[in-house]
């Protein structure tokens, strides 16, 4: 087990610093015009360390992480596929990095060409008429999507429509987004085979329905078989369909959300289009719309004048829901998605959906053969599937959490645990298309080993992990005794 790494402040020594990084001192006269009452009285207490100390500290911290570059990371609904190095290298060409967001279009035709072509390719894979790139994360894209739906109804004078229907298995961002848009959430149940309960849906729609938010394949890892009927019911009631693109990897190149009847969607470029997860971000949540929602797209959007690329903004889209980003969104992330899509090309997109689904179905079958219980055994897996450990919890008092922690010891990042809430003691497993059969087989072997340990020495599993930099962390203590910033006195 690696030795713990101190907090950077503990390396500070007064007077130390990476002085070759500092600009030359302009002298105190340069600041004479700043009024004393607006000046900082004492310098901020930032670390005073040398460059090598900084490099060692953060390099060592990085080595405490699991990552796709080092470990299989089958997190359901997160699509942890390989992040190609080429995407990073070419997105970080110096001219792209140096370009100011407010630089004129004349000095950005190269960059704007990439953005325009990205918009076009995203329309192509989703079957949508319009795409906007500025939302900076999936949840941000969801916000824009539901805001557009509201704007659409308002523009038609249909002010009563403020209800958003959400399946009970939905990810928490969906109802949270509806609330952020000033809507009311109506939850509908999912039936025992994992599809939306159509009878409940028909009872839930009406003159107050703004729309429905769906993921397809759903958060249960199965395709919503009745989607065409769902679309018909909601549209007939006057509502619109919103597609949560979190699971787009399952159907990329095989099915387009526009063809399923969706009016509006967001994509998670950091999932399906392999931009880096970066320890929690930055993502990009581009949105796509059918023709009737195009006037409401968030600005700015890249347009083509026939001769040059230009920004379309407030005067071009007077009914736009407005700006959701200070500038044009996460440009560097968008460049990486562009490069990725060009590397995949037409056939490569289709291969993503095919091989993601092949890997998931293979892994599901192997785990079932090893004695694990699938939540929906009669259904095909999409790009992910759910295994329930409720039997192990009941009979052996070993939970999904315990399995997840023991997997870390065996060199695998755990799958998503306890989501969706509908299935008790669940693991939501998504291998992605970039993993080889060998890796999947090794994962099955690890799960089998843990199952055996659960039967023979359960305490080993319950007290896992054992080989990580820390043992299981006390999150109750973390929330009761909030220690959110370092102070010298909190040193132990």
């Amino acid at each position: 087990m690696p030795t713990p790494e101190k907090v950077i402040f503990e390396y500070s020594h007064a007077g130390r610093g990476a002085s070759d990084q500092w600009p030359h001192d302009p002298g105190t006269a340069a600041l004479a015009d700043l009024p004393a009452k607006l000046r900082r009285g004492h310098a901020p207490e930032l670390p005073e360390v040398g460059e090598l100390e900084v490099v060692r500290h953060f390099t060592r911290l990085s080595q405490l992480n699991f990552s796709i570059d080092t470990h299989f990371y089958p997190l359901g609904s997160c699509t942890m596929k390989y992040n190609p190095k080429a995407c990073n290298q070419y997105a970080m060409l110096p001219q792209f990095l140096a370009r100011h967001p407010l630089a004129p279009e004349s000095h950005g035709q190269g960059f704007l060409a990439c953005m325009y072509e990205l918009q076009e390719m995203l329309k192509g894979v989703t079957g949508m008429q319009g795409v906007a790139l500025s939302p900076m994360a999936g949840a941000h894209g969801e916000f824009a999507g539901v805001a557009m739906i509201r704007a659409y109804h308002r523009a038609r004078g249909d002010l009563k429509r403020n209800e958003i229907i959400v399946p009970e298995a939905a990810h928490g961002t969906n109802p949270a987004t509806a609330t952020m848009c000033g809507c009311v959430v109506r939850e509908i149940p999912v039936n025992s085979s994992g599809d939306v309960d159509l009878a409940a849906l028909k009872a839930a729609v009406g003159p107050n329905t703004a729309g429905i938010m769906l993921t397809n394949p759903s958060t249960l890892g199965v395709f919503e078989r009745g989607i065409e009927e769902v679309a018909r019911v909601v549209h007939e009631a006057g509502g619109l369909l919103y597609y949560d693109g979190a699971n787009l990897n399952a159907i990329l190149g095989k099915v387009r959300p526009g063809d399923m009847g969706f009016d509006c969607l967001h994509m998670n470029l950091h999932k399906t289009f392999s931009t880096p997860h970066g320890g929690g971000g930055p993502g990009a949540g581009a949105v796509g719309v059918a023709a009737r929602l195009m006037p409401f797209l968030p600005i700015p959007i890249v347009g083509w004048s026939g001769e040059r690329y230009r920004w379309l903004a407030e005067s071009d889209l007077p009914q736009s829901i407005g700006r959701v980003s200070a500038f044009m969104g996460n440009a560097g992330v968008l460049l990486r998605a562009y490069i990725y899509m060009r590397l995949l090309g037409h056939d490569g997109m289709r291969a993503v959906g095919e091989y993601a689904t092949l890997n998931a179905n293979y892994l599901l079958k192997r785990l079932q053969s090893a004695g694990f219980e699938a939540a929906y055994p009669e259904r095909r897996a999409s790009h992910e599937f759910i295994v329930t450990l409720k039997r192990q919890a009941r009979e052996l008092n070993v939970t999904a959490m315990d399995f997840a922690k023991r997997l870390l010891d065996l060199g695998f990042h755990a799958p998503t645990t306890y989501f969706p809430l509908l299935v008790p003691e669940c693991l939501l497993i998504e291998p992605t298309e970039t993993e080889s059969k060998d890796v999947l087989d090794a994962f099955v072997a690890a799960m089998s080993q843990i199952q055996q340990e659960a039967q023979q020495e359960p305490e080993r599993v319950r007290s896992a992990p054992h080989t990580m930099p820390v043992r299981r962390l006390n999150d109750v203590r973390a929330a009761r005794h909030l220690d959110l910033t370092w102070t010298p006195t909190t040193q132990r």
Binding site: D475, V476, A478, A479, R480
Partner: protein, 132 residues
């Protein structure tokens, strides 16, 4: 199997109500609720003097896995919030019906009847139906 004292009244949303000698009522969350939430890390109680309607959210109980609203089982005026819970929220886990009381209130006229509170037996049925 959770503890359901026979001498208290209950709501479907897992609050309990105890009538005190001076006509005020004491309110908290049940053993079932504290068990479902897990170790409590933070509790917010209403201030004395606040007037609440029946079913109005008036307190919050937070664990690491959930943050739940607590709904006023009946209408009235809050006379006290339990001051202990700010520092020791886990009191609700260890003693949900005693030291872990959330708030006390003076019910409005007719509020108790209007509330249609459940007996201990009825609340047991609610728990059985929920599978707890």
């Amino acid at each position: 199997m959770s503890n359901v004292p026979a001498d208290l009244k209950y709501t479907k949303s897992h609050e309990w109500v105890r009538t005190l000698a001076d006509g005020t009522v004491e309110i908290g969350i049940t053993d079932h609720a504290q068990h479902a939430l897990g170790d409590l890390v933070f509790v917010e109680v209403p201030e004395a003097g606040r007037v609440v309607k029946q079913d109005e959210p008036c307190a919050v109980v937070e664990s690491v896995k959930a943050a739940s609203d607590v709904y006023a089982p009946l209408a009235g005026e809050i006379t006290a919030g339990n001051p202990k819970l700010a520092d020791v929220p886990e009191t609700i886990n260890s003693d949900p019906y005693g030291e872990g009381w959330l708030m006390r209130m003076r019910p409005a006229a007719g509020a108790v009847a209007a509330a249609e509170l459940l007996s201990a037996a009825d609340y047991q049925n609610v728990l059985a139906a929920e599978g707890g």
